[in-house]
């Protein structure tokens, strides 16, 4: 038995089997939740490349699986990422079971997780771009299953992901032709340009991010959040692989400057545009753009410890967007819209979703005592030393986003109606949101709680620690 079979092939096979159970919603969801939880448990408990004695028998899970001359490698230091990916998948499965109408998600959700793990494990790491494209194609089927207003955002998404994959694969060939410390400046510029375009399309960097708010408005927000967060996590790890493997790229001042500028523009525009939206789904989309911008800024600071900030932002982000998406989906289900006009006073009838939405929004905005605050503060401190303009962009973007969060609050409570019960009729979704809110508060109050996790996520990247 090898680790890639256990954490990639097995979940993929089970996912394919779960497609056959799509008409048995409960069984399919329970199957996928159990699958994800078992994967987390195995990632936490099983050692890789170590002999395990069980009575007379002994087992060893090898880290490598050869595939047509290339390899899939999951080493023990990668297991933290594997556990995180499947834990997130389990959280989303439970949330989708309580609220979403999708019958394909129980099959496709774990498959997306398995492909993310595959994208981290594949050697040469550039082939990860193809695996990420496969996730985008799965998302295409997932979103077209549900009748939406229009699916133009998804079509733009798949187009951009394909173009990104093409640029990254081509960049891989260019990189294979140069030394570890290239002297040809023209070749370096070409590589940086093509790499920038590849990641620009994949990560929805400015100006390629129009599909994000479009999809957030048109699709099931909770599933959209899952697909985008998973993909962004995979792409960020792919970016870290680039920096880990090419020292000249890691030390390139041009690249760092480009990342800082791009990230700053994303944070500023994402925050400002969110303040002008009349649809809560679109605010969710712009918040994702802004968060992406923060990650890009952290990547630009990789030579001064930015990688720890980058991994530190992952957990608070996932939690916040999870409970935010779930709350939005519940409003969407009740009111058939996320437009501001349709949601006047909607928060009064289900207080727990209002709480979830606001806590998540203000956590993303960086409100003190919430999960997003410690990393935001650390990023702001780091950036003001090396790139003060980026610091201003963060302040402006955050300001715009706070206006959007305030607008959401006033929209959801503005009515003459009396306040309803704290827990909504959908008890399971309410409980999940409540648990998420508690975690956001705990992470905000005790940031040291997950600092080890952030550090462990960096274990596969020796040069970035």
């Amino acid at each position: 038995m090898s680790a890639p079979i256990l954490w990639i092939l097995l979940p993929l096979v089970v996912s394919i089997a779960l497609i056959g159970l799509r008409n048995h919603r409960r069984i399919a969801y329970f199957g996928s939740i159990i699958l994800c939880l078992v994967m987390v448990l195995l990632a936490v408990t099983l050692p890789v490349d170590t002999v395990i004695q069980s009575g007379r028998a002994s087992y060893k899970i090898s880290s490598t699986l050869g595939v047509l001359g290339r390899e899939m490698v999951i080493q023990s230091q990668d297991l933290v990422i594997v556990a995180l990916v499947y834990a997130v998948a389990a959280f989303w499965m439970i949330g989708a079971y309580t609220t979403s109408r999708s019958s394909l998600f129980p099959a496709f959700g774990p498959a997306i997780g398995a492909l993310i793990v595959a994208s981290i494990a594949v050697q040469p790491f550039l082939y990860a771009a193809v695996l990420l494209e496969l996730i985008a194609i799965i998302a295409l089927a997932l979103f077209f299953e549900l009748p939406g207003i229009s699916n133009t955002g998804v079509l733009r998404f798949i187009t951009f992901q394909t173009l990104g994959m093409i640029f990254l694969l081509f960049c891989g060939w260019l990189l294979s032709g140069i030394d570890t410390a290239p002297s040809d400046l023209a070749a370096m510029s070409r590589i940086l340009l093509i790499l920038g375009l590849g990641f620009g399309f994949l990560l929805a960097l400015f100006p390629f991010y129009a599909w994000v708010p479009m999809m957030a408005e048109q699709e099931d927000t909770f599933l959209f959040g899952y697909v985008v967060l998973m993909m962004q996590t995979g792409i960020l790890f792919l970016g870290m692989h680039f920096l880990e493997n090419y020292a000249w790229l890691r030390n390139s001042a041009e690249l760092q400057q480009g990342l800082l500028i791009s990230g700053s523009v994303m944070v500023a525009t994402g925050g400002i545009w969110s303040a002008f939206q009349k649809d809560l789904g679109r605010i969710y989309g712009y918040a994702l753009i802004m968060e992406n911008g923060f990650s890009i800024i952290a990547m630009g600071l990789v030579s001064t410890g930015g990688s720890l900030l980058l991994t530190g932002m992952l957990l608070p982000r996932i939690l916040a967007f999870g409970i935010w998406g779930l709350s939005l989906l519940n409003y969407q289900g009740r009111h058939n819209s996320l437009k501001v006009d349709a949601l006047q006073g909607a928060g009064k009838s289900s207080v727990v979703f209002l709480l979830g939405l606001l806590i998540a929004q203000f956590s993303v905005g960086g409100l003190p005592l919430l999960a997003g605050f410690p990393q935001r503060l650390a990023l702001l401190q780091a950036v003001t030393v090396s790139a003060p303009l980026a610091g201003w962009a963060i302040l402006i973007g955050s300001g715009g986003f706070w206006i959007a969060a305030w607008m959401s609050l006033t929209t959801l409570v503005r009515s003459e109606d009396k306040w309803g019960k704290f827990m909504a009729a959908n008890l399971r979704a309410s409980l999940l949101v409540l648990v998420g809110v508690v975690f956001v508060l705990i992470l905000g109050l005790f940031p040291a709680f997950y600092s080890n996790l952030a550090r462990n996520l960096l274990l596969p990247f020796i040069h970035l620690q």
Binding site: V67, L68, G69, R70, Y127, V130, L131, E133, L134, I137, I138, L140, A141, F144, E145, P147, N151, T152, L155, I158, T159, T162, L163, M165, I166, L169, F170, G172, W173, A186, A187, R190
Partner: protein, 195 residues
């Protein structure tokens, strides 16, 4: 690879691209895609290994087969919609894009020295034609077929540079998944249109 054969294949691709611009229905696009995969097969056969070329052709035509089979078995017909102008506008734009493809290949041949100019031109023309179609058409099936055209162009260049059967299989998986997703979408849309 003989230059005259490569030149003939490039002309064939260019004509195929003009045909896609002229015929925006599924039969035209799927036929052109099948032709593109055949041209790709011949180029990869000469520039890489016969196994890679064969696997690539099988996966490409398999994808085309899935799409064609789905279209033939659905009722009612899905709408065809070209946003930017009429036939003449599309054909003239495609013609200029083909010329741009040649110009771009000329520049690219200075830094991709491993491939002959016409090989590069074949890939770049196809990619540009796909990108142009992405701007012309907004129906899901038209967009996905255009993406497949872009991918076909990319494959022509990539397989000339990188000799990896795994990459052929992975991109083949992408093509197959795209055509399966397209088959799913077509069936859903046709189901929604049925009264």
């Amino acid at each position: 690879m003989p230059v005259f054969l490569l030149a003939f294949l490039v002309v064939l691709l260019a004509v195929g691209c003009l045909f896609v611009a002229y015929r925006s229905d599924w039969r035209g696009m799927v036929t052109a895609l099948a032709l593109f995969y055949f041209v790709q097969f011949v180029i990869v056969l000469y520039s890489s290994s016969p196994l890679m070329a064969l696997v690539d052709l099988a996966l490409g035509w398999g994808s085309v087969g899935i799409i064609a089979f789905t279209f033939l078995n659905i009722k009612p017909r899905l709408p065809e919609q070209a946003v930017a102008g009429g036939v003449s506008f599309r054909v003239i734009s495609s013609f200029f894009f083909i010329l741009s493809g040649f110009a771009l290949s000329f520049t690219a041949s200075y830094w991709i020295t491993q491939l002959p100019f016409l090989h590069l031109a074949a890939g770049i023309i196809l990619m540009l034609a796909g990108v142009l179609n992405l701007n012309f058409y907004h129906q899901p099936w038209q967009v996905i077929l255009s993406i497949l055209i872009v991918l076909a162009g990319f494959e022509i260049i990539e397989y000339g540079l990188e000799n990896s059967l795994l990459l052929v299989l992975l991109i083949g998986l992408v093509k197959g998944s795209l055509s399966l997703a397209l088959a799913f979408i077509i069936r859903r849309e046709a189901g929604r249109m049925t009264p």
